[in-house]
């Protein structure tokens, strides 16, 4: 199913000023302005996340955002709350340490596709199987943004990048499928253009007890002119089939490998939560 008219928003700039100011979402903004490129999909994801925090009235003092390194990794500087900008790939284990030590905190970990799936890829399976109650948001732009346009684990085969002048030789990973295979108890997919949908997924992820994995697809307007362009991302995405049962793992995995890229909740399955 296609997107409704008006549902698509490249960045929060598209919101009515009244809506922004009146909503309270500015309470989740730090004094620093985001340093992302104009047109970057991360603004849209941020809007969804921020609205969800606001909607759930998460107290700023109990909000912790943990990241690795990358454009996505800059997130902690833009949020009003506590932030930990760690080293490349280690957002998840640091976030888990925080949550284990201080269960009353709301811990959100954020990472790029390189940060989370390449250098940090070894942690995801274990956080998922432990079912630690943190929310992980993967900002997947299928490229290394901060280091200026090298291939990432989700760059499609054949794409020319700064490090793959003859085309990327490797098949891309499927982040949604990975999270399912690792046993994550909540797995969803969204995209940067739909901040209302993003808000909804983020609300459900935050409300979920245990590990939640959110895969957001997002254009890098600066270093990817061919793959995840706004037009292509918009055209590629489809709503989750109504009949999908989020307790059905095999079904979720089958949907995850479907060439049609669905968005919505793939899995939501109660499981014992670590430490609870």
């Amino acid at each position: 199913m296609g997107l409704e008219e008006g549902q698509v928003l490249d960045s929060e700039v598209g919101l009515e000023v009244d809506e922004v100011v009146g909503s309270g979402i500015l309470d989740y903004r730090s004094e620093a302005l985001p340093t992302w490129c104009p047109g970057c999909g991360y603004y849209g994801i941020t809007m969804g996340i921020t609205r969800a925090l606001n909607a759930l009235a998460i107290e700023n003092r109990n909000l912790v955002v943990v990241t690795g390194i990358g454009c996505a990794g800059r997130y902690p500087f833009f949020v009003r709350g506590y932030g930990f900008h760690c080293v490349h790939g280690r957002a998840l284990p640091v976030a888990c340490g925080i949550k284990m030590a201080r269960p009353e905190l709301t811990v959100v970990a954020i990472g790029g596709d390189g940060d989370g799936l390449a250098i940090g890829g070894g942690h995801l399976p274990h956080v998922a199987r432990r079912n630690v109650d943190v929310t992980y948001v993967l900002f997947d732009n299928a490229i290394y943004g901060l280091t200026k346009g090298q291939a990432s684990p989700t760059t499609p085969e054949g794409q020319v990048t700064a490090t793959t002048p003859y085309g990327t030789p490797d098949a891309p990973l499927n982040p949604t499928l990975l999270a399912l295979a690792h046993g994550a108890s909540f797995v969803a997919r969204g995209w940067a253009g739909d901040f209302r949908g993003g808000e909804d997924l983020m609300r459900r992820a935050l409300a979920h007890k245990g590990f939640s994995f959110l895969h957001f697809v997002s254009p890098c307007v600066t270093f990817d002119k061919v793959n995840l362009t706004w037009d292509r991302v918009r055209a590629d995405w489809h709503a989750m089939p109504e009949h999908h049962d989020p307790h059905d793992l095999a079904g979720a995995m089958a949907l995850a490998i479907d060439p049609v890229r669905y968005h919505g909740v793939f899995r939501e399955e109660p499981r014992p939560v670590w430490g609870a």
């Binding site: 003092r61 109990n62 932030g83 284990p93 284990m100 030590a101």
Partner: protein, 622 residues
């Protein structure tokens, strides 16, 4: 040779193969002599392979006075397996005892019993270990306790503490087994007292020594003591990944920490372990991890983040033979450089090194204080020897109660403008943790301004780098300076050592002092940053300055040389066993007698030998 002195203690080695029960027998011995009031040090050696073929030795030294090392040589060999025990006879001192089964196993190649190796000057006692075991328990398994009985009877140690020790040791077993073992002990005891003709000089007269102690005596390994230090310090989050010789710390805490209200997680690797600990430390709880060299290598990047973001966290490194996977079950002190210098950028962080089991407790505890007070990762260096050796310790609780002298700077409230990394005199800034209203801020591994936001400005980088170094200077100023021990005034020999080698160096110094040399030592426990004054002071009054440690060529010696501005004598050797007091004494006295009598020359010689790769120290090439 100590043949003319009444015994004040002895070194006992119980040798066997897997399943012979020698390690259990050693534990019974430890418990029993501790109950009597002796001071104990136990350091077993296990076979290297999992399947436990090969020799293992329970090694216990007990003495009336405080024991610093497992002792050179051996006063009593208990042979539970003839084949493995034969090579052990080489260690026996003049006048030593050998206890063996009087019916050697008939499968023995060439019928070689250890009895054949009991040469004049030693005293061999054949005891029907198998027979008495069978009599006591209907099986041969209890021959280890028969042997303990024989030993106790022979050297006239009181039997009751042994019986209690056996009941304690086998407390979880059925009464039948427990009492069977006591019976085995008793049969051995009676055999020794009634049938053996005593020829040796070890007679403790059935009396227990009286030793002043603070608090209850306990038998602990270094790893257990370190784990206890964590618990006493209020650890709330421990993340670990198994690795020899540190695994035990994880295993002990997995059992005990949940009961103390904390959490333990076994992570997928060491990077994740320290990341969990850094997260928890940043969140305001006391957090730790422990590992060995290969694991510490993997932690370098995260440790560095903790330096930059100023996160308190404790990292215990139990060193083993290296480099790389190295010798996992052999001791060495060769991770100093990695601990002190293993970081990209200028990244100062403290390194502590305990000297004995009690200090494993105390310095681990102190590490948490230093971490919190100076907002820094703190490394604690144990090693295989320290982790696994067992000592009687007492007064741990009392010691713990005395700690807490370093105050934390916590920011408790505030309205905007909070500067998490405010520049202060000692470099320590008031710290807020998540959950605090109004003190929101980011932490980052990027260079940052006082508020925590990234800054690539040159002068800011200098100010922040200075701040981080100032914290270390403040620590070095507040940590008590190590006092020189030994002779006053001009010295023939100054000795510097660190970590588990301090014990052997201390005993070596005593031996040399007894031989008339003017010797003193400085033994830092804060090994990085270096407190320079005491080292310089020692150097100034020493004709020869020696640095004793267990690595190739002297890692700490490099620092000492730089600080004192002269060449030092490097008594540095690697190998399978901990370096012994006699070995050190010999190296030191050798250096002192060096012809030419010039400090510089002596040192140069040692130095050159080392550079040529003939092995650290002088006579320690092999």
């Amino acid at each position: 040779m100590r043949s003319d002195a009444a015994p004040t203690g002895m070194v006992v080695r119980i040798c066997g193969a897997a399943g012979d029960g020698n390690i259990a027998a050693g534990q019974v011995l430890n418990r029993a002599v501790t109950r009597m009031g002796f001071r104990v040090m136990n350091f077993d050696s296990y076979p290297a392979e999992i399947r436990g073929f090969g020799k293992s030795v329970a090694h216990t030294r007990f003495e009336v006075e405080r024991v610093w090392t497992p002792g050179d040589g051996c006063d009593c060999l208990v042979a539970l397996d003839d084949a493995h025990s034969i090579s052990e006879t080489a260690r026996l001192r003049d006048g030593a005892i050998v206890i063996y089964d009087d019916r050697p196993p008939d499968w023995h190649e060439e019928d070689r019993s250890v009895a054949g190796f009991v040469v004049p000057g030693m005293h061999g006692y054949g005891v029907p270990l198998r027979d008495l075991s069978t009599l006591a328990t209907k099986g041969t398994k209890a021959r280890n306790l028969v042997a303990m009985g024989a030993l106790a009877g022979l050297v006239r140690l009181p039997a009751d503490p042994f019986r209690e020790a056996i009941r304690g040791q086998f407390g979880s077993k059925s009464e039948e087994i427990r009492e069977g073992n006591v019976r085995a002990f008793d049969l051995g005891w009676r055999h020794a007292t009634e049938r053996l003709k005593k020829r040796d000089r070890f007679d403790f007269g059935l009396a227990a020594p009286v030793v002043e102690r603070v608090g209850k005596a306990e038998i602990l390994s270094g790893n257990e003591a370190a784990a206890r230090g964590c618990l006493d310090a209020g650890l709330l989050m421990y993340a670990g990944y198994p690795i020899t010789p540190a695994t035990k710390i994880l295993e002990v805490l997995a059992k005990k920490l949940p009961k103390a209200g904390g959490v333990v997680v076994q992570t997928e690797d060491e990077i994740s372990a320290i990341a969990h600990a850094v997260g928890a430390g940043w969140a305001g709880t006391r957090a730790a991890t422990a590992t060995s060299g290969p694991g510490l290598s993997l932690m370098v990047e995260m440790l560095n983040l903790a330096v930059m973001a100023e996160v308190p966290v404790v990292v215990i490194d139990s060193q083993r033979g290296g480099p790389s996977t190295g010798l996992p079950t052999r001791t060495e002190q060769s991770d100093f450089r990695l601990a002190a210098h293993g970081a990209s950028g200028d990244s100062p962080r403290p390194v502590l090194a305990p000297a004995d089991v009690a200090e494993c407790h105390a310095l681990t505890f102190k590490a948490f204080e230093v971490a919190d007070a100076f907002q820094t990762p703190v490394l604690v260096l144990l090693d295989f020897f320290l982790s696994n050796r067992i000592e009687d310790v007492s007064g741990l609780a009392e010691a713990a109660a005395r700690f807490g002298t370093y105050a934390e700077k916590r920011a408790t409230a505030g309205e905007g403008g909070y500067r998490r990394y405010a520049l202060t005199d000692d470099g320590v800034s008031p710290r807020a943790v998540p959950g605090t209203e109004g003190l929101f801020h980011p932490a980052t591994g990027l260079e940052h301004d006082e508020r925590g936001f990234p800054s690539y400005d040159g002068p800011n980088h200098v100010r922040m780098s200075d701040k981080r170094h100032r914290k270390m200077a403040a620590l070095a100023a507040r940590w008590p300076e190590p006092e020189a021990v030994g002779a006053e005034g001009p010295l023939d020999l100054g000795v510097v050592s660190w970590g588990s080698t301090i014990g052997a160096a201390t005993e070596a110094m005593r031996a040399l002092a007894a031989r008339g040399l003017a010797v003193a030592g400085v033994f830092p426990r804060l090994i990085w940053p270096v407190q320079e004054r005491p080292l310089r002071a020692l150097s100034e009054r020493s004709r020869v300055l020696a640095v004793v440690e267990m690595n190739h060529g002297g890692q700490y010696a490099d620092e000492v040389e730089r600080v004192v501005g002269r060449r030092v004598l490097r008594v540095a050797r690697i190998g399978a066993d901990p370096i012994g007091a006699a070995e050190i004494a010999e190296a030191l006295v050798g250096a002192r007698k060096e012809p030419g009598d010039s400090t510089a020359e002596t040192a140069e010689t040692a130095e050159t030998a080392e550079r040529n790769g003939t092995g650290g120290g002088q006579e320690h090439g092999t």
